[in-house]
């Protein structure tokens, strides 16, 4: 038993249980303590990632792998979780209820996601995914006095439960037809059979459908805009970043590890999901008037691009997905941190796109930062958001999937339209009602750091980040 390998998960689990007790007994006064303690725990978990042996083989009888791929994913997830806690700190101050429990839920969710990205067995996959989801359902309805938040939580739960059911059904089929729940066993079962039996194929389809729900890829995206809109904004920021990383990385591991011999079977499914997400994410965002819904469609759109890297497969495709997700979470978190600053004069949160009009004149730096994130999400050079898009397309082109790349890249043009709309509102329109003055605080620094990362300065990171993702991806093969 090599417990050192699961040190990050162990730190977070034990820490979260302790903090839950603190929150339960100390009540709302402890909100600050639990928040900072949770961030410290996440940092400690991130640091401990450096320590454990980067074994390639599965541990605990093939349940989990502490490899570079998982470590990279965990790093991103812990980062997103910490930012979500920081973002919430200012958010809940006015009418916080159970403020102390928020970071605890984030921590549990982070543990679930950490298990997801390192799962090498269908059982751990399911346990991690459920731990993440259950915490997420609670988080979505965190402002339970708010109807929209309660509705978001309920909707997320019902649809999520359905997706879990589909996933479990797929898992049971795969188990029934291969006799094992371990990825390596499933891979060899697929490799043994030249033509895959109907049962295996059904299992594969249901498994991927369940995962597509978690990545909010079309056609399993329906919950995304509603949940993103209804959930409190810091929670939305969290949903748009960490669970996406976990679900996309999990899909990568499942497809390239467990289902590797069945590439012809899953590739067409992922191609469809990818292109449908790109196109629907771009087209459906047109009529949106709520910035959170817009960003929800943007996240659907971006997942589509990340999946192009998965379609390409191989070390290059996998590393391009990792690169994509790393840049994507920074852009998305940055954009949401800017949205968090949209407060009316009384401090009430504003979400309508119209409230952004003329922002460049009332709050030039905030507008500039949001514009940078928007252009970057649209993938316009010289901003750094261009580079991961380029990498996934390069991976697809190298595999000879040129029609896929062509359709995908035309999707960026359609998508550019609504990102431009945000810039247009901020820069071309007359100023509306000003926002409340914001303090210069940790959030402001985070926005600045994110903006610098996606600015052309980000290109300096191509080398190191490229090496990091390539190493992480190589541990899958």
């Amino acid at each position: 038993m090599n417990f050192a390998a699961i040190l990050p998960e162990a730190i977070l689990t034990i820490g979260a249980i302790v903090l839950m007790m603190v929150a339960a007994f100390a009540g709302r006064r402890s909100a600050g303590v639990t928040s900072w303690a949770a961030i410290a725990l996440l940092l400690a978990a991130a640091v401990s990632l450096i320590g454990p042996p980067q074994t390639d083989g599965a541990l605990f009888g093939g349940l989990i792998a502490a490899d570079g791929f998982g470590a990279f994913g965990k790093l991103l997830i812990f980062l997103c979780a910490a930012v979500a806690i920081v973002a919430a700190h200012g958010w809940f101050e006015r009418d916080f209820e159970h403020g102390a429990e928020y970071p605890v839920l984030i921590l549990f969710s982070a543990v679930g996601m950490a298990v997801m990205v390192s799962a090498t067995s269908l059982v751990t996959l399911y346990v991690g995914l459920e731990l993440q989801s259950l915490s997420a359902y609670v988080l979505a309805s965190y402002r339970r006095t708010d109807d929209r938040s309660a509705e978001a939580g309920l909707k997320y739960f019902v649809l999520g439960a359905l997706a879990s059911g589909i996933l479990l059904y797929g898992i049971s089929l795969l188990y029934g037809f291969t006799g094992t729940t371990q990825f390596s066993g499933i891979a060899s079962a697929f490799a043994r059979e030249g033509t895959h039996s109907l049962g295996l194929l059904f299992g594969l389809v249901f498994l991927l459908a369940g995962l597509a729900f978690k990545t909010s890829a079309v056609p399993f995206h329906m919950w995304t805009p509603d949940v993103y809109e209804g959930a409190p904004t810091p929670v939305t920021a969290f949903f748009a970043s960490a669970p996406k990383v976990a679900a996309v990385l999990l899909s990568v591991r499942v497809c390239l590890d467990a289902l590797a011999p069945a590439i012809d079977a899953w590739r067409q499914i992922i191609i469809f999901a990818s292109l449908a997400s790109i196109i629907l994410g771009a087209v459906a965002a047109y009529g949106q008037t709520n910035i959170k819904r817009l960003l929800a469609y943007s996240s659907i759109n971006n997942v589509g691009f990340a999946l192009i890297g998965l379609v390409a497969g191989g070390p290059r495709g996998a590393s391009s997905v990792l690169f994509y997700m790393a840049v994507y979470v920074v852009m998305t978190l940055g954009a949401f941190l800017c949205v968090l600053r949209m407060r009316g004069e009384d401090g009430e949160p504003l979400e309508s796109m119209d409230s952004l009009s003329g922002l460049s004149q009332s709050r030039p730096w905030l507008a500039a930062a949001l514009a940078v994130f928007m252009f970057s999400l649209a993938g316009i050079p010289p901003l750094f958001g261009f580079w991961p898009k380029l990498m996934v397309f390069q991976a697809a082109v190298a595999e000879g999937l040129i029609p896929l790349a062509v359709v995908g890249i035309l999707g960026t043009v359609v998508g550019a339209f609504y990102y431009l709309k945000v810039v247009k509102l901020m820069y071309f329109d007359a100023p509306g009602r000003p926002f409340r003055k914001a303090r210069t605080d940790l959030e402001g620094i985070l926005i600045l750091l994110a903006a610098l990362f996606v600015s052309p300065l980000g290109y300096l990171l191509i080398g190191p980040l490229g090496t990091l993702t390539a190493n992480a991806a190589s541990s899958l093969f």
Binding site: P381, P382, F386, Q394
Partner: protein, 515 residues
């Protein structure tokens, strides 16, 4: 080449100045922008002075980050040199033209222009395919903001149209670039220029690049973004758009389409000629019926750019050199014409031709400059327009006499709409009291127009200065594409060398190159 990284410096100066300008007040930003652009002009002159026309193909080479997927590789040949000169020459004039016309959000405006300059120089100096793409596409952002924030009434529609049109054109080029990098295993432009792609593949790659450059150029029928963008953009924005941004399309054809895909270029020559022919005739006719001065000049730009595509795809020296001179000349002349429109727009705030008339009476200096640029646009001998258009037509004639016939009608129509414009604005009776009361050019405006006028005449009288740096590069291009050159329908019989044509330098190649 060791020593001062002059190209990086030319990119860095406007970039840094642009960032600093954001922190200054309006006047500080104006002065900083002027100083930065003048400093870049000075560096550009230094670049031209130390460029060795007989030296290596690529000079001032800089290379950083080799081994990464995209490297900071810069370097120029004569063609890039002249286009960089055009950019740095027009830039201080743009700043000067905006000195008073722009009074809101000045620091942001100057920052956008300085960023634009850095990206433009980057486009012409980049030696890495992806670096080129980054600069090429990056230019969309500042131009989108310039049109959208400081533009006219319909600025928002125009800015969207500009952005989405050009983006849609370019993305396919990116896929083609990725394919090329995948096959050739390098993203270095000089290496790719010598790489032979399979003819079947070239066909697709050529089309993908064409989609991008044809929109940028712009060629008929994808030119419709240009009139909107020009009309709505502020004066300086139009100058940069017409002066430099359109040249990126022509530059792309010279740098990528022709040398990298010679066989496909030859195959598509009739296609390009047909599109260019339609452009010359149709857009000239459209220009004839415009009521808006800027729109008229915008359509004339499309027609002039068709001379560039005619010349480039003629596959001979006259055509290519002519196309290059048309590019430079059009950059100066159309920029100057937009400035001329800007001068009277600043006074009367309308671009309606009918609101003006008889300006020769109250604005004699203005009338003189406007006349010169009108004549240059028409292609009067002695001005830059003549040299380029003549050479490009000679080249076209050699390749296809029918194409030359169609193209030449463009000269006639060009004279018609330009002179008609000039007549309505400057001659005739003074119809409106406010137009009649407009003061003549002031010192600032003189300083903007006079340097361009001097260059237009210089290029018209002694084009050798501008052709010399490019001659070797055109020669290299010709040796690269001659294996694919289509047989023209001109049956030239070598005769005794004729006496020198009026334009000594370029013409002396004609007999030698013809066959």
């Amino acid at each position: 080449m060791t020593g001062l990284p002059i190209l990086s410096l030319m990119i860095a100066i406007p970039l840094i100045a642009g960032i600093v300008a954001l922190f200054l007040n309006a006047n500080g930003a104006r002065w900083l922008a002027l100083i930065a652009t003048l400093a870049d002009l000075a560096l550009g002159i230094g670049l031209w002075a130390s460029y060795d026309p007989a030296g290596a193909q690529w000079q001032f080479v800089e290379q950083l980050g080799t081994g990464l997927p995209v490297s900071w590789a810069l370097g120029i040949d004569g063609i890039a040199l002249m286009l960089i000169m055009l950019s740095v020459f027009l830039m201080p004039i743009c700043i000067g033209a905006s000195w008073r016309a722009i009074d809101k959000r000045v620091p942001e405006y100057m920052a956008a222009f300085l960023l634009m300059e850095a990206l433009m120089i980057g486009v012409f100096a980049a030696q890495d395919l992806l670096l080129f793409y980054i600069f090429f596409e990056g230019g969309l952002i500042p131009m989108y903001l310039i049109i959208g924030i400081w533009g006219g009434v319909e600025r928002i529609k125009a800015s969207y149209k500009f952005f989405l049109y050009t983006l849609a054109g370019s993305v396919l080029m990116l896929i083609a670039m990725l394919v090329m990098i995948g096959i050739a295993g390098t993203s270095s432009i000089p290496e790719l220029m010598a790489y032979d792609f399979a003819p079947g593949l070239q066909w697709w790659l050529w089309l993908a690049f064409f989609a991008s450059f044809a929109v940028k150029m712009p060629m008929w029928p994808v030119h419709t973004w240009l009139p909107d963008a020009h009309v709505q953009a502020p004066t300086a924005g139009s100058v940069i758009l017409a002066g430099v941004l359109l040249k990126m399309g022509g530059y792309g054809f010279i740098r990528f389409s022709l040398p990298m895909f010679p066989e496909a270029s030859a195959q598509f020559m009739p296609f390009v000629f047909v599109l260019s022919g339609i452009a010359v005739v149709v857009t000239s006719l459209i220009a004839l019926v415009q009521h808006d001065m800027k729109k008229l000049i915008a359509y004339s730009s499309v027609a002039h750019m068709a001379f560039v595509t005619f010349g480039l795809f003629a596959f001979n020296r006259q055509g290519i050199e002519g196309a290059l001179i048309v590019m430079l000349s059009h950059g100066l002349v159309s920029g100057a014409l937009f400035l001329c429109v800007g001068v009277i727009y600043d006074r009367l705030h309308t671009r309606e031709i009918a609101r003006y008339g008889g300006l020769a009476d109250n604005m004699p200096k203005y009338a003189l400059f406007f006349m010169l640029f009108t004549m240059a646009s028409v292609g009067l001998p002695g001005t830059s327009g003549f040299v380029g258009e003549f050479l490009s037509l000679v080249g076209t004639y050699e390749a296809s006499s029918w194409a030359a016939v169609v193209a030449t009608t463009g000269i006639i129509l060009g004279a018609a709409y330009m002179l008609y414009l000039y007549w309505r604005v400057v001659y005739g009776t003074q119809r409106n009291a406010d137009a009649a009361a407009m003061p003549d050019l002031d010192a600032r405006e003189l300083w903007l127009l006079a340097p361009i006028a001097a260059c237009v005449l210089w290029m018209g009288i002694y084009p050798e200065s501008f052709m010399r740096p490019m001659r070797e590069d055109v020669g290299r291009l010709l040796t690269r594409i001659e294996r694919a050159a289509p047989r023209g329908d001109a049956h030239v019989i070598p005769g005794k060398p004729v006496t020198a044509a009026p334009h000594g330098a370029p013409a002396e190649h004609a007999p030698a190159e013809a066959h």
